[in-house]
Symmetry: C2
Subunit: 443 residues, 2 copies
């Protein structure tokens, strides 16, 4: 099970400061589990590992099996919570090189998360002469980026397979009953999966939103739920040994002392998009009302040779949270070399994973000496069970942390501002006045 340690943090905050924040964390925990706080209509994820829809999961597995059989590529169309979770899971569990590997499962390509024509041309090239299916993920169906991508790739798939053939290759993950995408799906006869009403995008990895792409890539989704349920057991237990409490307390105690940037790091490059998912989870949940820790990330040891200088000796407003693994999936032993020109023979016979672990420990001590408090989140191995644990743990700790901070961790009102401006500048009906105003400002 996940273990959170921050012994080292204790030299940066006093015991009374930690006690004060732990008492707030306890209240936040109760607000969360009793559903008495703001955003209480979006707590579906808290009990999901126990009460997920078994029938839908079977349909997801069946759809995944069909896609694996008839497609060389799955295009996943989605943005934000309908993009990062699935990408993070596939790269973390399979490999950041998943799409380049020889394998029996389809490539999984993500589109509809930007407005770049060059990006979309790349995707068109990658599906040329290859059978593909589409999983379009959008609660409403009107979010600009995925809607544009779906318009373009629906044209392509219908050209390729005819309307009926295309309908059998399009899977819509959307609202259960309302919305444009649901209407189209019903009219065309696409198989649909649900974006539940009571689970926000960034908390939706363990719904059809994340599960279908994961299952297509061959992830063991049952193990993901098993891990999530283990984390649920631990996270629901009140007390100072609850890992979610420790994490929420440590980061809030530090934030109250002026540490306003949290850098999430991991010594496995496959974790890069897990960090991106984490950034959305924490940034979108806590970054409001002009407060919140700024979430950033590093890939280690690579970034010790880029951000390392700053981490060691830049402005002292940083805390670091490092995710570690007790063991890798497959280790490598350092070979001996007769000449020893590189001077590495002192490592010969050692496993690379243990060297990686010593790099972590040495770095943690160095950064602490440099004035950066460190929190460690240690896990067993980078597998599906750990993934499920991490997802649930981070979500639960985020709810607790957000309430501790005094914000609604389940809304995202700030995301609308750019959309309104964009629609106005694009000349959408109903935005005429705003358009005039903005054009004047742009000069």
């Amino acid at each position: 099970m996940i273990k959170v340690t921050h012994e080292i943090t204790k030299s940066f905050v006093s015991e009374s400061e930690l006690n004060a924040v732990f008492s707030d964390v306890e209240k936040a925990h109760q607000t969360l589990v009793n559903g008495t706080g703001p955003g209480k209509d979006f707590l579906g994820w808290t009990t999901l590992p126990r009460d997920y829809d078994r029938d839908e999961l079977e349909r997801i597995k069946a759809a995944a099996a069909r896609i694996r059989k008839d497609s060389e590529v799955l295009l996943v169309i989605g943005i934000g919570g309908s993009y990062l979770g699935a990408r993070a899971a596939v790269e973390f569990i399979k490999s950041p090189f998943y799409n380049q590997q020889k394998k029996t499962t389809p490539d999984v390509l993500f589109v509809g998360n930007n407005l770049s024509p060059d990006y979309i041309h790349s995707i068109f090239e990658l599906i040329k002469d290859r059978d593909f299916s589409i999983n379009v993920i959008s609660k409403s169906g009107t979010t600009t980026e995925p809607a544009i991508a779906f318009r373009l790739f629906r044209d392509e798939i219908e050209k390729r397979y005819g309307a009926a053939g295309a309908a059998r290759r399009i899977y819509a993950t959307t609202d259960r009953s309302r919305g444009v995408l649901k209407q189209v799906a019903t009219a065309q006869g696409y198989e649909t999966f649900a974006v539940p009403d009571n689970i926000g995008g960034r908390y939706s990895v363990l719904t059809a939103v994340g599960l279908l792409p994961c299952a297509v890539a061959g992830l063991d989704v049952d193990m993901m739920f098993a891990g999530a349920e283990e984390a649920m057991d631990v996270c629901y237990k009140e007390g100072a040994s609850n890992p979610a409490w420790i994490y929420a307390a440590a980061r809030n105690a530090l934030y109250r002392k002026g540490y306003c940037i949290e850098v999430l790091g991991c010594y496995e490059p496959g974790f890069r998009f897990m960090s991106e998912w984490w950034k959305q989870l924490y940034g979108e949940s806590e970054g409001k009302d002009r407060k919140g820790i700024f979430p950033a990330s590093v890939e280690l040891t690579a970034d010790l040779h880029s951000m390392g200088q700053y981490l060691q000796d830049g402005e002292r407003k940083l805390m670091e949270t490092i995710v570690t693994f007790d063991r890798p999936m497959r280790d490598i032993t350092i070979p001996s070399q007769a000449e020893d020109g590189d001077g590495l023979n002192f490592l010969a016979g050692q496993g690379l994973h243990s060297i990686n672990t010593q790099a972590f420990k040495g770095t943690m001590l160095a950064h602490m000496d440099g004035g950066v408090p460190n929190i460690e989140i240690s896990c067993a191995a980078p597998d599906e069970r750990t993934l499920g644990q991490l997802v649930y743990f981070f979500e639960f700790a985020c709810g607790v942390s957000g309430y501790t901070l005094g914000v609604n961790p389940f809304d995202q009102p700030g995301v609308e501002a750019y959309k309104v401006n964009m629609f106005a500048l694009l000349g959408k009906k109903g935005y005429e006045e705003k358009r005039e105003e903005l054009l004047k400002r742009l000069g």
Copy 2:
């Protein structure tokens, strides 16, 4: 040519504040071009676009042609400045999907930038049954990560092609005369290229360090130099219209007012690793003596649906710098749709690039209204010429900005701290006392 605008920033700082910082920027510029400041032995990059080694460039092109002919994969072994620049350039100019594309040039895979055994196993699988060459990049040859990777893949390439065959497939970019890697290269007869003494890793994209991988991937390196020379002309000219001055002045003026995080954003996903390269350049150059702006990055519009909430309404310590392009390499027109279920027909007939540009403009205004000053760096198109311009511009502005901040922008003393601890924990000779101390602290 690159244009830097920050009209919008002006509402966040007063004219007298800007004037004060411009006067410091002027002095910093003179310190840089006259070579009178700290780190003055590392200014080789300032005149590189004019005085680069023509003979070596021809050898680089010839080596690249050979690799394209005899290899399906080029393994680039390097970390930090010997990794990020080349990766950034290839993904920016070609595609983030470069390695997945059907093409006539070899895949370019980067290794030796981490200590993950799972990552290295992935690379071994990707070169299985495929002809490959190695470009090992290290000034000394003793940096742990690339040295371990070179030991492993040198074994593999020698097994595959024999010692003599392997020697023809290994290209060493290293010190001109000293160091372990230079010795091995001489003994084994590898072709070598120079890591110049007077250019630090993060300023080395336009040396053999960056150029050989770029040339192998089919980038037009002459156009990169042409762009860099154009930027050099502009950056050397004193005055308030110098884009490097504008950028250095804007970010320093904002930093002095408490904006301590700079978020670099771009609406092209292919820019992701350019941002990583930029983070090293600025973080390592300025993050010292307990000061420096914290560099972070976002990929847009994707991250408007993850970090967007924080950017709009989180703690107000952020400035944003957005890199934009006047035109894409290839545009896409939004098609009309009879049913208009998604309500996008108001965009039909528009180019996607122009929609992307309106998203940028709308976002800039929204974020400014939310209290985030914005700087825009606008470029022509995402091609090699722009790449050369951006690389030189960012480097020059970094030198000016670092001197304005009052640090040595060309050293990185903090990078050693973790290495010392790591060597001690790994039991390297000479670190016995440190080892005892650290083990005690780790308990």
